[in-house]
Amino acid sequence: MIGTMAQAAPYVGYVYPNETDIPWSVLIVIYPYITGLVAGAFIVSSLYHVFGMERFRTVARFALLTAVSFMFFVPVPLLFHLGKPQRAFNAVLTPHWTSAMSAFSYVAGFYICLLLLEIWFAFRADIVSLSKTKGGLLGRAYRILTLGSDDVSGNALAIDHKFAFALAVIGIPAAGGLHGYVGFLFGSLKSREWWSSDLMPIIFLLSAVVSGIGLLVVLYVAYSKFRKAALDDACLQGLAKTMWAFLTVVLLIEGLELLEMFYKQLEGIEMVQRLIEGPIRYGMFLQWGLSLMVLATLSYLILTHARGRILATGMFAAGIGMMLGVLAMRWNVVIGGQELSKTMKGLLIYYPEILGHEGLLAVLFIFLCPFIVLWLVTRFLPPWEPEAGKEVSS
């Protein structure tokens, strides 16, 4: 309910009186989560577009549409959370540059433009062809989208490819920047023991890539089932290896960070331990349990050169597992950081509300929106190439 405090957080030990009103709700859990999915999906498309990994050709264009569909909804949880959403543009018009947050609109805006441009170049030939075959309102939309250029000669397509390549090259640091920035937003706050870490941007970035690949795998397998198209085993094996590599590194860094924290035994470490054993125990169990299970599954799929049904089922499960595992990680960071009192003498417990503009239902609604938009976008711009339906041996 706007204008009233949701619920005072219960606590143990001593917390500052103002801390019982938890500032950042579950909406701020979903914000870095969605941003991460965007970055991960984009990286997969770049592996094909920039690094020329042919095996990712099948999902490269779909990955771009996934990235943009989710990117549209990155600002939504933030707007839902603001006390004065009608003033959101104050941060755009008069950005206070010492604040990491003031860069959000610029970073996000730049990235959306870049994604839209890259999609246009990647789909231009299709748009031109659709503008000539479709009639009515839809045909008109395609004609407008050609932006007056219906040249699909070899020369013109080569130029398209050149632009798409350049944009993809710029897109990699942009995607990295977009999510590294989110990590900085948390890691740069010296007030919170659980956030204040130089490794936060790196951890956020790598886990983002893992969750984004997970999302892409889940969507690719589900779409192929829906379309009754065969899955591309080589592509799935490639995704398995990419996910495995990123997951290994992120688990190592996260593990090392915890190890250092407990080895150093700085003042307040008892409370950090109680946080992990207390308010975020289920979250930590999910984050680590699922990550290790996914790592084991991926290792099995890679080592046995799995194909066909086993590969598809294993990857689908790994994708779901990784999406949930990273969601748990976002919860553990965003909520966990606030549950550990700034006094380092107490712990708070955050209970999300169900209804209300910061409630679980609102979050569920916001998170479903990109899937609906993606479905509509893939209807409008089918990303699947004809040969993608055929099984390709690895």
Binding site: I2, G3, P17, A91, S191
Partner: protein
């Protein structure tokens, strides 16, 4: 000589190109320098900002600071109630511009037992979230050492809250006070997160962040902050550090003072006397 050089450069197109290129790089570096410098500038008050329209008050002539003598505080909480009344702070046990902490060591305790007026036991004792008192839970306990510590915004010299505000709605005045423009705040609560002292609170009715202003509307008229005014034991001290005879200058001079969480680099301007290591 100079004209010779320039003549020589004119004759050589490659050199002109190089010169322009270097000039562009120089300009870029200069711009980057200005941009990089900005965080430092933003952490200091904007001297050039238009002063507020307050008759007889010049914000360049004062340097306000606050003192807390924890050895004097009796935990009566008149300061908390006065602050809420004076500043229209949300009337519940979860939003405060100032609060008081109670530290109690029982015999054999290694660490203090800490609570504040918003502890459920204390709220039950007062019977209301509008009036505050500490309960008598230690009446028959073997207390070894006990003291009260009033807390409030530290109006830091390098305020982390001002650094993270995305719009500049919260700012530092030249007289050393950290304020919020409620008509410009977007209510993101990044500043609430950034304050290491838990001094900021969110006003849900207004949709904006709120905090102690040292009663700026009073001090600029020559009055004391409400909490200082009502304190019956002079545990709270306020004044102008530019005046060597002000209460705060004397307090800092005559006591061995410390600040809270100095490791944050925020450089607080609330000075404490009589606190021990457990206080943070």
């Amino acid at each position: 000589m100079e004209s010779d050089t320039s003549e020589a450069k004119k004759a050589e197109p490659g050199s002109a190109l190089r010169r322009n290129f270097l000039r562009a790089i120089g300009a870029g570096v200069a711009c980057a320098g200005v941009w990089m410098n900005d965080p430092l500038r933003a952490a200091t008050p904007a001297e050039e900002a238009a002063p507020p329209d307050i008759p007889g008050y010049d914000w360049r002539k004062h340097k306000w600071a606050f003192g807390v003598d924890a050895t004097r505080c009796i935990g009566c909480l008149r300061c908390v109630e006065a602050c809420k009344a004076e500043n229209g702070v949300t009337q519940d046990a979860h939003h405060f511009r100032t609060w008081v902490e109670r530290y109690v060591y029982l015999e054999g305790d290694e660490h203090a037992r800490v609570d504040s007026q918003s502890d459920p036991g204390n709220i039950a004792a007062s019977g209301s979230q509008q009036a505050f008192r500490f309960d008598n839970r230690y009446a028959s306990a073997p207390v070894e050492k006990a003291f009260f510590v009033p807390k409030l915004c530290n109006h830091c010299t390098h305020p982390a809250c001002v650094q993270v505000c995305p719009t500049g709605a919260t700012y530092q005045t030249p007289d050393g006070v950290v304020l919020i423009d409620h008509s410009y705040c977007i209510g993101c609560q990044y500043c609430v997160q950034a304050c290491p002292y838990g001094a900021r609170e969110f006003n849900h009715a207004m949709g904006v962040t709120d905090k102690c202003t040292w009663c700026y509307h009073r001090i600029t008229k020559g009055l004391q902050p409400a909490c200082v005014e009502v304190c019956p034991v002079e545990a709270r001290v306020f004044g102008d550090r530019n005046d060597p005879d002000s209460p705060i200058s004397r307090f800092i001079r005559n006591n061995r003072v410390s600040v809270l969480k100095p490791q944050t680099g925020n450089a607080p301007n609330v000075f404490y006397a009589g606190i021990d290591k457990e206080v943070s």
